[in-house]
């Protein structure tokens, strides 16, 4: 049996990795959804509504990518909603206080701000060695509290921001809104990093078995901290884009977002217990969840049914994912028996 030939396993490998690709089912679901909706209501793919779909997906895509980084390391960040709120309001404040501040600088500031907030989570998790779910549940409240006391009833309206900033979420480059292009760039960059760079693979190893990673000498704390910071920075980016996209930012901006994001990531096939899944999958999950709402309105489904249907969608995504992985396991067992 030790005479397994190069090309044979090469083939087996590609087949397996395809079967193992957890994002396949989600992507399929998305396509199906769009097709069906369009059949019922052709205007669903009209330029304007298509643009809206992309714009709606943009922000949650970025959030999902960041969250995926954290979840893959067998952690989670529930404070993203509050972080986004803080950054968004901060952005509004920047434009208010420093009129005519260069927009790139605002993006930088937003990502740094988010990164710092993420770092606080990361440090608590790694230094104090306590579960991320508890810590970030705590910081979710704390950050929100800070924001509400900071913002009070003050709100910044799109009118308060420079035209060209708002334009980011209106103007399109070959059909794609600028901020959506940003999101796509993020997905590609992070996705590549996670697949083909050592430190990216480390994140998978850590999520797969943190203790083994520690014994083996991977820089666990460093990597996990990095994941939280990266997530924070991405949330920061999303926060700035949010300000450009929506009419007003204030004390409640982004509240309740955390579970949606985690849902998107899970739907995208990232195992909540870490170690498996891809950011591309997470991104697709995000698009799926943000599209379903639009699709339901477009097909004039009774609004009362919409949330229920979203729930069903999340569940079926998890179930399908499960079925796929079970199938792989059985394949393994059989091939195992052959190897013996």
């Amino acid at each position: 049996m030790s005479t397994i030939t190069e090309e044979k396993t090469g083939a087996m490998h590609s087949v397996r990795s395809f079967l193992r690709a957890r994002e396949i089912p989600v992507a399929g679901a998305l396509v199906a959804l769009v097709i069906i909706t369009t059949i019922i209501n052709p205007r669903f793919l009209s330029p304007q509504s298509l643009k809206d779909l992309m714009l709606n997906a943009t922000i949650v895509i970025i959030l999902a990518v960041g969250q995926a980084l954290v979840i893959i390391t067998r952690n989670v960040d529930l404070s993203v909603g509050s972080i986004l709120g803080l950054v968004a309001f901060g952005t509004g404040t920047l434009f208010d206080v420093f009129a005519g501040i260069p927009i790139p600088l605002v993006f930088l500031a937003g990502m740094v701000f988010g990164g710092v907030l993420g770092a606080i989570n990361g440090l608590l998790v790694t230094a104090a060695k306590v579960p991320a779910l508890v810590i970030t549940l705590g910081t979710m409240y704390i950050y929100r509290g800070v924001l509400t006391s900071w913002a009070g009833s003050k709100q910044y309206f799109s009118g308060d921001n420079p035209r060209e900033f708002g334009a980011l979420s209106v103007d399109t480059v070959f059909g794609l809104p600028i901020i959506t292009l940003v999101a796509i760039a993020v997905v590609i960059a992070v996705g590549f990093f996670m697949r083909a760079v050592r430190s990216g693979r480390d994140l998978y190893a850590i999520g797969s078995d943190p203790d083994a990673a520690r014994l083996f000498g991977l820089a666990v704390s460093k990597r996990v901290l990095a994941a939280f910071v990266a997530n924070g920075a991405l949330v920061g980016l999303a926060g700035v884009l949010y300000t450009s996209r929506y009419n007003s930012v204030g004390a409640l901006t982004g509240s309740g977002l955390e579970l949606d994001v985690v849902a998107a990531v899970v739907v995208g096939g990232v195992a909540i217990s870490g170690g498996t899944g891809t950011v591309v999958g997470a991104a697709i999950g995000a698009v799926l969840l943000s599209t379903i709402t639009g699709a339901l309105t477009a097909t004039r489904v009774d609004k009362f049914w919409q949330q229920a249907i979203v729930g069903v969608l999340i569940l079926s995504a998890i179930i399908v994912d499960r079925i796929v992985s079970v199938r792989n396991a059985r394949k393994l067992r059989v091939s195992e028996a052959r190897d013996v």
């Binding site: 049996m1 030790s2 397994i4 190069e6 396993t9 090469g10 087996m12 490998h13 397996r16 990795s17 083909a196 760079v197 050592r198 693979r201 480390d202 998978y204 190893a205 999520g207 797969s208 078995d209 203790d211 083994a212 990673a213 520690r214 014994l215 083996f216 000498g217 991977l218 820089a219 195992a271 170690g275 498996t276 396991a329 393994l332 067992r333 059989v334 091939s335 195992e336 028996a337 052959r338 190897d339 013996v340």
Partner: protein, 527 residues
């Protein structure tokens, strides 16, 4: 990064450069690694009081000692997992204080831990090369190259493991082999192996030895820990003995004798290792017929009678554990029947098996035998949950009394009944597992690798225990990869090969040759 943190030779690569020079100047070899008077305590437990070891380039150095002697703790100090509370540590002539395993690795030390530590979600190949995958330009990982190198490694170890398979669900044996591949692929100047052979059977062990000798001849220093003396004496150049966390002595193997070493280890003379008394055989307790499970085992049929010890022998991967799991009800089976005392046993129900009177000491102590974070007391009484309850309510006092009684009977060495079992040494953990099953007073006891990673002293105890149990009319089904154990303890021996029972021998007719042949021959042909 490591170079900054560790005041010593930077990386493994340059380390191997040094090796040649070291072996060149092998006239009077100066040590590549010395640890002196290292101490480590965990809360109240003194794991290591005086860890002292000295490894030369180009030697294989054995470290022996009873369970709980502190071997693994010493290893973890070498590995940078624990930082010693006291003692001095010199690598390649320079004092070092490792702050993390990374430091140790950077200093050219590569370690195989007692318990396999793989990443279940990653492929076998990635498990081996994680953190140092072969990269092309721009630090991009070259997977094809990674697979090739992995396949080469397995070729040298002569095992057919698919590098693209994820590690999830590999048998302990396969896991251990991957650990070995990982360790040797680092071509470090010091290779530390904590009971690498515990899960392996003859063939794999031989291959491992060949590899180890190869590394030694290239000038690496190897620390080898094992409870099997035949291995120690076959492989090693020097032997360091430890007892109760303290260094006792170091010998050249040539000048050492087994009894001498054992005496130093246990601090007393030992009785027979296989105190098997032939017990009167009663009527059939367990009878299995036509048991099959796709891809794992086929048409398994056998009986175990009261007072009888039946050994299930064979190579690792033969499917013995799967049979046991199926009988006990952990796994399902596709066909066949299991009867206990003539009554059919429902499939897939461990609870039913337990109430019917089966005890099962599983092969993987850490994952299956014990709840590692739970206290000794709780573990020891876990099997008694139901019988402990009066009117559905458990009395903490009785629970405690039972726990103390049984861990006393098996002489479990622990600071307190309230400590997590995870803090016990391998051997003592195994005793807790036995304790909790004996407490149920079973009719049939299935033991899978009962003495894996257990020192001679304890081993003899365990064997005596099994023999007593048989004497008291309990039927025992013993899975073991250790031939001497099988031959020494069993009344009957069933040999499994590729999921089938390939032969059966009585105690009288069985010989090492017969059993090995039945376990391997067919396979040898195939290869």
């Amino acid at each position: 990064m490591a170079t900054r943190e560790v005041p010593t030779v930077p990386a493994a690569s340059s380390g191997s450069a040094q090796l040649s020079s070291a072996s060149g100047a092998s006239a009077q070899p100066q040590s590549v690694l010395t640890l002196t008077g290292a101490a480590k305590t965990f809360g109240p437990v003194v794991a290591l009081a005086d860890g002292t070891i000295d490894i030369r380039p180009g030697e294989i150095h054995a470290l022996v000692g009873e369970n709980g002697a502190g071997k693994s703790t010493l290893v973890k100090i070498l590995a940078g997992v624990h930082s010693p509370d006291a003692g001095e540590f010199v690598v390649g002539g320079e004092h070092v204080a490792f702050r993390s395993p990374a430091d140790s690795k950077a200093a050219g030390i590569s370690v195989i831990y007692q318990e396999p530590t793989l990443f279940p979600d990653l492929t076998v190949a990635e498990n081996i090369f994680i953190g140092r995958q072969p990269t092309g330009r721009g630090g991009i990982i070259n997977r094809r190259e990674m697979r090739r190198q992995a396949r080469e490694l397995f070729a040298t170890l002569g095992v057919p493991i698919d590098p693209d398979r994820i590690a999830e669900g590999l048998s302990i044996a396969d896991q251990q082999i991957i650990e070995i591949a990982k360790a040797i692929s680092l071509d470090a100047r010091v290779l530390v192996m904590d009971e690498p052979t515990a899960a392996l059977s003859g063939v794999e062990v031989e291959r491992l030895f060949t590899v180890a000798r190869g590394l030694r001849d290239k000038g690496a220093g190897i620390l080898f820990i094992s409870h099997r003396f035949e291995e120690v004496f076959a492989l090693c150049d020097r032997i360091t003995v430890m007892r109760d966390g303290r260094y006792v002595s170091v010998h050249d193997t040539a000048a050492a004798t087994v009894p001498g070493i054992v005496k130093e280890m246990v601090g007393r003379e030992l009785g027979a290792l296989f105190p098997k008394v032939v017990a009167p055989v009663g009527d059939t307790v367990l009878s299995v017929t036509g048991l099959s499970r796709l891809g794992v085992f086929t048409d398994i049929g056998f009986e175990v009678k009261a007072g009888e010890i039946v050994a299930l022998s064979g190579l690792v991967g033969a499917g013995r554990t799967e049979v046991a799991r199926a009988v006990f009800g952990i796994d399902k089976y596709d066909a066949g029947t299991v009867h206990l005392d003539g009554k059919p046993l429902p499939a897939r129900s461990p609870q039913a098996s337990i109430t019917a009177g089966i005890g099962f000491v599983p092969e993987d102590r850490r994952k299956q035998g014990l709840v590692m974070d739970l206290s000794v007391a709780r573990n020891a009484t876990l099997t008694l949950r139901k019988s402990l309850a009066r009117f559905g309510l458990i009395s903490g006092a009785r629970e405690r009394r039972l726990a103390e009684e049984w861990s006393a009977r098996l002489q479990v060495k622990t600071g307190s009944q309230d400590y997590a079992v995870s803090t016990l040494s391998g051997g003592n953990q195994q005793k807790v597992v036995l304790a909790k099953w004996l407490a149920t007073e079973p009719r049939l006891l299935i033991v899978d690798e009962p003495t894996r990673g257990i020192d001679v002293g304890t081993k003899a105890e365990v064997h005596r225990l099994l023999s007593d149990l048989a004497g008291r009319g309990i039927a025992i089904l013993m899975i073991s990869s250790e031939l001497p154990e099988v031959l020494g303890m069993a009344d009957r021996i069933l040999v499994m090969h590729e999921g089938r029972i390939s032969a059966e021998y009585s105690r009288e007719e069985a010989t090492a040759e017969l059993v090995m042949h039945a376990a391997t021959s067919a396979q040898e042909v195939a290869r």
